[in-house]
Assembly symmetry: D2
Homo-oligomer: 406 residues x 4
Amino acid sequence: MSFRSGRHFLQIPGPTNGPDRVLRAIDRPTIDHRGPDFAQLGLEVLAGLRGVFRTDGPVVVYPASGTGAWEAALVNTLSPGDKVLAFETGHFATLWRTMAERFGLEVEWVPGDWRHGADPERAEAVLRAEPGIRAVMVVHNETSTGVTSRVPEVRAAIDAAGSDALLLVDVISSLGSIDYRHDEWGVDVTVGGSQKGLMLPAGLSFNAVGEKALEASRSARLPRSYWDWEPIVEANRSGFWPYTSATNLLYGLREALAMLSEEGLENVFARHARHDAGGGGGLGAGGAVRGLARALRLADGDPDGRRVRRRRGPARDPRALRHVARRGAREAGRRVFRIGHLGDFNDLMLAGTLCGVEMGLRIAGVPLAGSGVEAALALLEAEPEPGGSADADGAVVRQAAAEPAA
Amino acid sequence: MSFRSGRHFLQIPGPTNGPDRVLRAIDRPTIDHRGPDFAQLGLEVLAGLRGVFRTDGPVVVYPASGTGAWEAALVNTLSPGDKVLAFETGHFATLWRTMAERFGLEVEWVPGDWRHGADPERAEAVLRAEPGIRAVMVVHNETSTGVTSRVPEVRAAIDAAGSDALLLVDVISSLGSIDYRHDEWGVDVTVGGSQKGLMLPAGLSFNAVGEKALEASRSARLPRSYWDWEPIVEANRSGFWPYTSATNLLYGLREALAMLSEEGLENVFARHARHDAGGGGGLGAGGAVRGLARALRLADGDPDGRRVRRRRGPARDPRALRHVARRGAREAGRRVFRIGHLGDFNDLMLAGTLCGVEMGLRIAGVPLAGSGVEAALALLEAEPEPGGSADADGAVVRQAAAEPAA
Amino acid sequence: MSFRSGRHFLQIPGPTNGPDRVLRAIDRPTIDHRGPDFAQLGLEVLAGLRGVFRTDGPVVVYPASGTGAWEAALVNTLSPGDKVLAFETGHFATLWRTMAERFGLEVEWVPGDWRHGADPERAEAVLRAEPGIRAVMVVHNETSTGVTSRVPEVRAAIDAAGSDALLLVDVISSLGSIDYRHDEWGVDVTVGGSQKGLMLPAGLSFNAVGEKALEASRSARLPRSYWDWEPIVEANRSGFWPYTSATNLLYGLREALAMLSEEGLENVFARHARHDAGGGGGLGAGGAVRGLARALRLADGDPDGRRVRRRRGPARDPRALRHVARRGAREAGRRVFRIGHLGDFNDLMLAGTLCGVEMGLRIAGVPLAGSGVEAALALLEAEPEPGGSADADGAVVRQAAAEPAA
Amino acid sequence: MSFRSGRHFLQIPGPTNGPDRVLRAIDRPTIDHRGPDFAQLGLEVLAGLRGVFRTDGPVVVYPASGTGAWEAALVNTLSPGDKVLAFETGHFATLWRTMAERFGLEVEWVPGDWRHGADPERAEAVLRAEPGIRAVMVVHNETSTGVTSRVPEVRAAIDAAGSDALLLVDVISSLGSIDYRHDEWGVDVTVGGSQKGLMLPAGLSFNAVGEKALEASRSARLPRSYWDWEPIVEANRSGFWPYTSATNLLYGLREALAMLSEEGLENVFARHARHDAGGGGGLGAGGAVRGLARALRLADGDPDGRRVRRRRGPARDPRALRHVARRGAREAGRRVFRIGHLGDFNDLMLAGTLCGVEMGLRIAGVPLAGSGVEAALALLEAEPEPGGSADADGAVVRQAAAEPAA
C-alpha cells in the first residue's frame, strides 16, 4: 500500500476504533488457561459482561465472530422444524433469517422497508395467528441502516399474544453504545460481539442467557457441540472455559470493561447520542451527525431510526465516490453512506470525520445545501464534552503569563 | 495474585510462548475488513498457511478455538448417521469422538492404551469389514500424551482397504512443530489451531481442505452455517472473509508465518527434535527432554510416542506436587507430567525449564536416579544451536582486550 | 485524571503525535549495546540521520533533550570569553543566548520583535564591525512564534563579511518538517531533537558536525566530557557509542527514519506546507491553518513568518480560554495561540484540530469574522491528499453494489 | 542477523532485562509536558524515586545516560581547581576520575587492585593529610568487577578526619538491587541510572541531592546549564521539568517504581542476594552464582567483592570463547567473565543462564572441577522462591484427577 501519514480514521460501520489501552492489554504473554491467574481473569470479565448486558444470569463467551453467536442462540434453544418469527429491518436481519433456514427452522418473515424497526403490533398479530412460534428474532440496532427496534415493546407483544416464544435479540452494534437491559426487558438470549461498543478487535462474541432459554436448551434438539452452553456455563463457575480460551482477547475485554466502568455506561450512551443523528431508541432528538445531515439536506428523518440518507442520487464520478469513502464514510448502497461513531470516540474525532465527509461530497460533485460541518459544530458547542478531547490545561494560562507576549 | 518477578516460564502442553514480534503485530489498530489493505493481508496469510500445511488447496480460517475446527471438519463433510472410524490415542481423540457422536455420527472406536498412535493395520482391517465408513479421524500428535500417529501409513491402509473414506487429521499440536504434509500424505481435511507451533494466542483455527473433501461438502447434510467452507473459500479468492474477521489475530498470524519462513520449517522441526524426548514421528532418537527423563529414570520408552512418564508413583505431599508444577511442568495425571517445548523456544529456555523440573521433583521428595539436567545439557552441547540464544558477540573479544585485565 | 474517551489530539508546539509504528518499535527488549545486532542498528540510524540532515559528515546522537544538544554545540567549538552573534527571533533564541552567557561567552545580541527571522544584512554588518566573532547562532524555525530564518542568506552574510565564524543552527522544530540542508547551506553545527519532525518521544538530540566545526573542537577550551564529540564520532565508526546507549529510543529512531524514507522527505515537506499557515521558509503561500486564520481575521501576515496571531485581545473569561486550549491549541501568550501540525499528521487530524479551535474560540466568546473551518477545508479540497487519511476503498463500490439499496 | 528463536537471555553487566510491563508503559502516546496529567506523572515518579534512593530531598532526573549524571554531580558542586578524592575500585571509578580531570579538578587517586572497595582507613588518612579536599567520589558497586564499597564507613571516615568534603556516590548498578540509603548514610550526591535495578531502558539518569550539596551548588563555579539542579528542582515542585521531558521513559519509570513497590524493596534485595555470588555489601554469604563458581573452581573469594573469576587462563580457542559469551555471560577481560542477574529476574532465568555458562565453558574446553549447575540448583532448592517463576497452579491437581491416568 502507499504510505499514509497520520492516524487513520476508521469510521466504518464495522469494527470501531480500538483504544490503545485495549490493544496494549492484548499485547501480553499468554498465561496458563488452567491456572489461578486465569481464573481471576475469567471471573472478572464474566462479572463485567453481566454488568454491560444488565443481567444476573450467565453470559457465554465464544472465540468467534458475531455470526457464531447468532448460530449459538439458535442451536441451543431450538429443534429442527421449529417456527420462528423475524423482521426485515435490514441486511443483518436478513442474514440471520437465512441462517435459521439452513438449520431447518421455519421462518415467519415480516417484510419491511429497512427504515423501520420490528413492529410490535405486527408481532402480536402474527404470534396470535401462529401460536406454535418458538422464538422471535430481533436485531436491536441494524448496522446496515441504523434502524433501532423497540425491544421492550416486542416483549410486551409476545406476552400480550399469550405466546411462550423465546425472545432472541442481536445487540452486536448496540451493546455498550445505547441503552440495553437483558433482564429488565425480558430478553431470553442476547447476541453480542466484541468489535463495536466493547472496543475490541473482532474475535469474541456472546450469548447472554436467561433462565427460560437455559431451560429450553435442555430439550432443544438441533445438534451442537462447540456452541453448547452447558459445559461453558459449568466451567465458568470457577472462571474457566472447556476449550483453550482466546486469552489475549480476554485481556483486552477486561481492559475495555474497565474503561466502560470508568466512564460510566450512562455517560457512554450520552456521548454516542450527542454524536449521533438522534432519533429513536431513546436517544436525544438531534446529535451532531444528524445536524450535518440536515444542513446538507442529506437526512431523511424517521422516528424509528437514525439513518443518514441522501434522497436523490445525482450522477457522479465513481472515482469521486471513493474520495467520499476515503474521507471517513463507507457507502452502504447506491444512495446511502454510513458514518461509524461508536466505541472509543470523541468530539474532535467526529469533527475530523464530518469534515472528511463534507470535503468528500464536494469533491464528488454532490450538490450540498449548506455547511454541514458548521451545523454539527454548533450542536457540539452547545454542550461541550466533559474533560475535552485535546489538552486540558490549567497550566496553560500560567505558562502563557510567564512567556513574553508577542 | 502475588508479585512475581522475571519472565514467566509457560511450558504447559497448551498455548506456547508467544514471541514479542507476534504480540506487537497484534497490537495495531484494526483496519477496514473490506478495504484493499485487508485484502493484501488476507491473501498473504492464506498463501503462508498453504506453505505450512503443505497444500495447494484452500485453508479455511475460523475465529474459533481448535474444537471449532474439529466441528467444521465434521459438519462440512458428513451427514447424519454416517459411520466414522477413530482411534483411542489419548484425551483429545476421545473428545473428538464424543463430538462426532453429538452430531449423530456412528463412531467405530478402536480402543487404545494412550501409548501408541493409530494402528494402520487395524485401520485396514476395520475398513475392510465396514466398507460403509465415510471418514477416518486421526490425531497426528496427541497433546495429552505426546503420542504421534503415522499419518501416511493410515492413508495407505485406507487405500489398501479399497475404502473411499475421507482422512481427517488433527494437527493442532504438531503443525509447525513436526513434519506434516497435507497434499503429499493424501489427507482430506487437516484441522489446525493457532496457539502451538504457529506461536499465536488461541483464537484462530483452520481446515486445510482437499479436493475430495470439497466435493463431499456439496452433498453433506449435517446442518452448518458458521462453519460452512463454501462462502469462506469464495470470499478468500479476493482476500476477504464473509464475516467480520479477527483482523488483529491475522496481523499476528502474518508475523508468525514470516518468522517460520525466516527460520525455515526444516530448521524449526530440527530445533524441536533436539529439545524433544526423541522417538517416533520421524524425530531423532534422543533429544534433551528424553535425556533428562532417562537420567532420572522417569522415561518409559515407546517407539511410537514421545512420552515422559514416571513409572511408580511414590507417596508424596500434594503441596510439593504443586512445586513441581510451579517450576515448568504441568501434571497431566497422577503419574505423568508434561513439558511443553513447542513454539518460540531455545536452548536456554529449555535448560531453565529442565532445572525447574528437577528442582521441583527433588523438593517433592521424588527419588531420582541422577542428574537429569546434566544429561540433557550434555546432549545439547554435543551440537550447539546455531546463532545461540544469548548474546552472540564478536565484539566481546575486542572489548575485553581493551579493558584492563583483573 | 477524569476519564476521556477517544484519541487525544496533541497539537501543542511541543512533541508531535508519535505514530504507533514508532511506539511499537520502542517497545522491544533491549539488546546488548556492545553486540553485533546493536552495531547494525547504530550504523543504520547514523546513515538515516545523515540523510535527514543532508550531510555526509558525522551526526552525533545524545540521550538528552534538545537543550543538551545546544550545550554540546557550544562546548565543543568555543572557549571561555569567545564572542558569538545571536538574534532575538523568539523565546528559544533567547534561552540559547542565556545558555551561552552561562558558559562565559560574550553574546552580541541583535534585538528583534519575534516576528522576523535573523536578518542577514544586520548579520553582515555586525560581523564586519566585530571581526572577532567566533560563531553565529540561528534558530531555523522558532517554536515559540513560527518565525523561520533564512539560513543560506545568513551563511552568505558571514562569507560576505569575510568572517570565519562558525554557523550554529537550531533545527529542533524544522528538521524533517521543512527543507533543511546542512552541507549545501554551509552550516557548521546543526542542533536537532527527536520529538518534532522525527516523530519520536523526547529523549534524543543531535549535532550534525561539519569539517570546520570538528577542527574547531580540537582547540576549543570550554570543559566538556559528556558532550564531547570525539569519542562518540570515534565509536560511531563501528556503530557503537562510548556510553550505554538509549537503545529503545534508537529502535524508534530507526522506524521513524524508515517512515520518512517511505513517504519521501519532499512529500513530508509538501504535506506540512499544505497544512501550514504558509509564508516564509520556502513554503507555499497559504495552507489550511493560514486559511482558517485569515477567515477568522486572526492572522497577522508576515513575509518572514508563519504566525497565527490575534490582533486585539478582547476581554474574556479565563475559564473559556482553557476551553480553547482543550480543543487543540496551546496559548503561547496573552494574544497568541499556537497549533502544532508537524510529525505524523494528516488532513482529518488537522480538520478535527481546526474544528476544536473554532469551537473553543466561540465558547470563549471571541468574536470571529466567519467560518475558518470552511475556509480551511476549501483549501484542503483544492488538492486532496494522496492516499487519503481514512479508508481508501476500491472494494466499497463493489460491496455497495452487492448490498440491497435502501 | 541470522534468525534466532525464543527469548534472548540478556545477562550482560549492562542494561537488565526490561519487564514487559515497563516496555508497554513506555509504548503510549506522549502527553503535553505542560499539562495537568503530566504534573501528576511528574509528582508520582519523583515521590517514588525518593523512596528508592531513601531520601526526603530532591532527586533530579536527566534525559541522559549515567555518565551525564556523573558530570552533573561534579559541575553542580565544584569549582575549577578543586581537589577531590577517588579510589581505583574498577573500570568505572577510573572513568569518573578522568572526567573530573577534564573539568580541571585535581584528583587524589588511591590506587587499587580492582578487588577491594574504597578503603575507609585510607580515606581518613588522605583527608587528614589533605584538608582541602572538597569531595570524595565512591562507586558503590563496580559494574566492571562486582566490587562493593562500604559507603557508611567512608562517610564515617570523612567525619572522623574532620573534613567537610562532600560524599558523591555512584549507585548506577546497585540502586534497586542492593540496600542503599542516601539520607541515613549521609551521602551528599547519589548518581543513579535507569537501566539496571530500575529495569528501564537506558536514557534516564539521576542525582539525589542532599542539603549540603544544594548549598555547595550555590557557590560552585564550574560552568553549567543543562545539568544545573536549580531550575529543575524549582520546576519539579509542581511536577514539571524546565526542558521537554522524556515523557515516555517517565511512563516506564512510573511502572518500574510500581513494580518495585509491589514486590517490596527488601524482597528485591533478598532475591538478588539469593542469585548472587554472595560476599560483601551486606549480602548473604553464598548465592547461586557463587555456588556455581565454587563448584567449577572458578571463584576467587574476596570478603569485599562479589567477583566471579577464573584463576589460571588455559589456552583456548577464541571461537569457543564466543560460545561462552553466547550463552549468557560477557567476557570482561582475559580471565574474567561477568553474569548479569539484576532487574526483572527469577530462578528459572538464572538456571537457564548458568546452564548456558557451563555448556559454554565446556564447549570452550575449559577444564571444570564439577557440575556447577547442580551446585547452584541445590542452593536455590534449599529455599524456593516465593510464588515461583513458572505456572503456580492449584488447579493442576484437580484437573489431573479428572483426566484418565496413563
